[in-house]
Amino acid sequence: MHYFDWTATSPMGQKALEVYSDIATRYIGNPSSTHPLGAEAKARLEKERTDVASLLGTAAGNIYFTGGGTESNSIILSSLLNSPAPGEIITTAIEHAAVLEYRRILEQAGWKFTALRCPGGYLSPEALREALNDKVRMVAVMKVNNVTGTVQDTAALVRVVREYSRTTGRPIHFHCDAVQALGKIPFFPEKEDIDSASFSAHKFCGPRGVGILYNRSRSVQPLSRGGGQEKGLRPGTENLAGICAMGAQLKETLENQKAEYDRILVFRTKIENAVTGCGYTLISPSCSSGLDFSPYIINICAKPTPSEVFLRVMADKGFCLSSGSACSSNSKGKAESVLTAMNVDPASRMSSIRISMGTGTTEDEVDALCTALTEAAGQLGIKA
């Protein structure tokens, strides 16, 4: 099978596997234990924190190790429930479910949850400015969209928020879900003046079940309670082997980031040319659009064939693709919500296919994919 679902998850890299095995064998102590083996583990953990912080361009004190992207988002969003009085959170309607699913719980607690639509997949600074008001306590905008690959200009969005805050004198927390950004495109949250950001190891060939929360706000109060690990933000015994494996893999990924980006962009262009030449339409931005997008993700429309039918046909040809976010394709309708918020027409939403690539993707595989997509178009009567 040829794997084109790297946005859903990626296989653990060699570096991560080696480090995982080494750390899991050598550091047997619990970092919270006071005996020498515990202290040794603690020292190793803190070294990793410093290294990761440096890779993300921030201080070690702003880095928290978590169980993954969803948990990192959750720590920030659920902290709103500890606020003395409810306010408003502004986010986009194209966020991952890890953010959007907080609507109900926050609304129950009296919060206003505003999810702005993103025509074409982008939130403009003007639209955000218009939505801001003196009730807003948090703005959460993802960096790279997991369904279409559109990249938000978070730096500009943060500026809008800061300018507004200066007029009211009230701080607004800016959170960014950057799970699909890290290791793919340059992203330094502190440089962009972002308050908190979420990352997940398994999206860049690190282990599953490990993530990073960058957070420089001291007012974030977690809901979960425990042994006080990660300064109380993420209690629970630290997954030292997983964390170190993630750190090592991140270092390697970032070292190769530019070269990989250029390699994948060539593949992306190839796929785009192949699909637009045989009846598919692009849902993701075109390479020639001048818009900012991640080449790792390309979303196309296989009208009139429903996504799930198309996926079966491609699976039979030996290709693993996805119909949207892998986390949501089990529940009907949710995979379409991002495209609805992007003003994609209903027929195209029903036929949307996500192709995503990663470090293991080869040119031969991409060529084979282009051939298979062309065949499938003929077979299924796909037309623009």
Binding site: P304, T305, P306, E308, V309, R312, V313, D316, K332, M350
Partner: protein
């Protein structure tokens, strides 16, 4: 012939309902029921005898009780059953057996009302019925002090019969009723992955109709998960039907042909017509005398009276629709009872959205639609469907 020693076997009393009312052909029904029960209990040894409107089922002791209970709960013709204990007419043994019986259902929860009822066929026995009832009532109350004696309409009963031996049993666990499967001949059930068709099949099996099942699979437009769901549904209803054969027809080419050769609003009707034609051919090959569907009047566009008239016109053999006058809620209630509901609602559709017209015809004219069907020129494709159909045998074992 091997002699069976009933002393080494557990005894169950089976109450028969409608069969007991049969006249000269009662033997035919009873024989079928006996065979149906014995088949399901096999390879464990069993013996069935008939006495006074009841079956006495002896099952070898190595057969788990669960198998016997599941068998009796899924065999049509069984109205109720009880585990019975038999012993010599010795008072201490009788008390011992009474104590053993009340440790099980329905007495096990130790609450509610009960009575002990005795029939003393052997008038020589040293205690009379009233004495036996009083003494054994005391045994129950000693064990379950919260229970109350109630002579009229008690919730639970402990029954004792003093005949050649002492037979004891508790009030019966309900069976499914109906007539033994196979006594009404054989039909072909059009089984989809929905809620209705398994219930329709179950209802017809209850009237003694043995059924094969037919499923139309349209991969890749419907998923293999949808096919698996249908196999699972067939597996759930198979014990009631004394096993079944699931015939799977590859319907993809047919659906695509219909889509390209008929008007959009007629797609569903043409699909139903093709299903009827294929079902007729398969029924003929398998010696099925009727088709069974889960249609209920007015439930969807293809189930209006006019649509049913059209689909009927495409079938040479009768189409039985046991759910035709049932509300959805009633159907769901049966689906829950027989255990198909949770599988039926799994989200694997049995028809792809691209074959479902937005505005289907709801009041078709039979002549017009028959002409549309003929104009499609689909006969060859339907023959191919039948020739290439796959078959899966599904066991009656519970």
């Amino acid at each position: 012939m091997e002699r069976i020693n009933t002393k080494e076997m557990n005894l169950y009393l089976i109450r028969l309902g409608e069969i007991s009312l049969k006249g000269l052909n009662r033997n035919f029904f009873e024989k079928k029921l006996k065979n149906n029960i014995k088949l399901k209990i096999h390879p464990y040894r069993s013996l069935l005898t008939r006495e006074k409107g009841r079956f006495y089922l002896y099952v070898s002791k190595d057969c788990p009780e669960e198998i016997v209970i599941k068998t009796l709960k899924t065999t049509f013709g069984v109205v109720g059953f009880s585990r019975a204990l038999v012993c010599e007419k010795d008072w201490d043994r009788i008390v011992e057996n009474a104590k053993a019986l009340i440790e099980n259902e329905p007495f096990a929860d130790g609450t509610g009302t009960f009575k002990v009822e005795c029939r003393r066929g052997d008038k020589q026995f040293f205690m009379n019925s009233y004495q036996i009832e009083s003494e054994l009532g005391g045994v129950v109350l000693d064990r379950y002090p919260d229970m109350k004696v109630k002579v009229k309409n008690p919730e639970k009963e402990l029954r004792v019969e003093i005949r050649d031996k002492a037979y004891m049993y508790t009030s019966p666990v309900p069976g499914p009723g109906g007539l033994p499967v196979g006594t009404a001949g054989k039909g072909l059930l059009l089984l989809s992955g929905g809620i209705d068709s398994p219930v329709a099949g179950w209802r017809m099996a209850k009237r003694g109709l043995k059924q094969d099942c037919l499923y139309f699979h349209a991969y890749p437009y419907t998923s293999d998960m949808a096919l698996q769901k249908v196999k699972d549904l067939a597996r759930i209803i198979a014990p009631y039907n004394q096993g079944t054969n699931l015939v799977v027809v590859n319907f993809t080419e047919t659906e695509l042909w219909i889509k390209d050769h008929s008007k959009e609003e007629e797609h569903t009707l043409m699909m139903r017509a093709c299903m009827m034609k294929v079902a007729n051919m398969i029924a003929k090959k398998r010696d099925c005398k009727v088709l069974v569907t889960g249609e209920a009047l007015g439930q969807v566009a293809s189930q209006t009276l006019e649509s049913m008239c059209f689909t009927n016109s495409m079938s040479e053999i009768p189409v039985l629709r046991p759910l035709v006058a049932m509300d959805k809620e009633e159907i769901i209630s049966t689906a829950r009872e027989i255990g198909t509901f949770e599988t039926s609602i799994l989200p694997y559709d049995d028809c792809c959205v691209i074959f479902s017209p937005k505005h289907p015809l709801v009041r078709p004219e039979v002549d017009q639609e028959q002409k549309s069907f003929t104009d499609m020129g689909i006969d060859e494709l339907l023959d191919k469907c039948v020739a290439e159909a796959e078959e899966f045998e599904i066991s009656y074992h519970v």
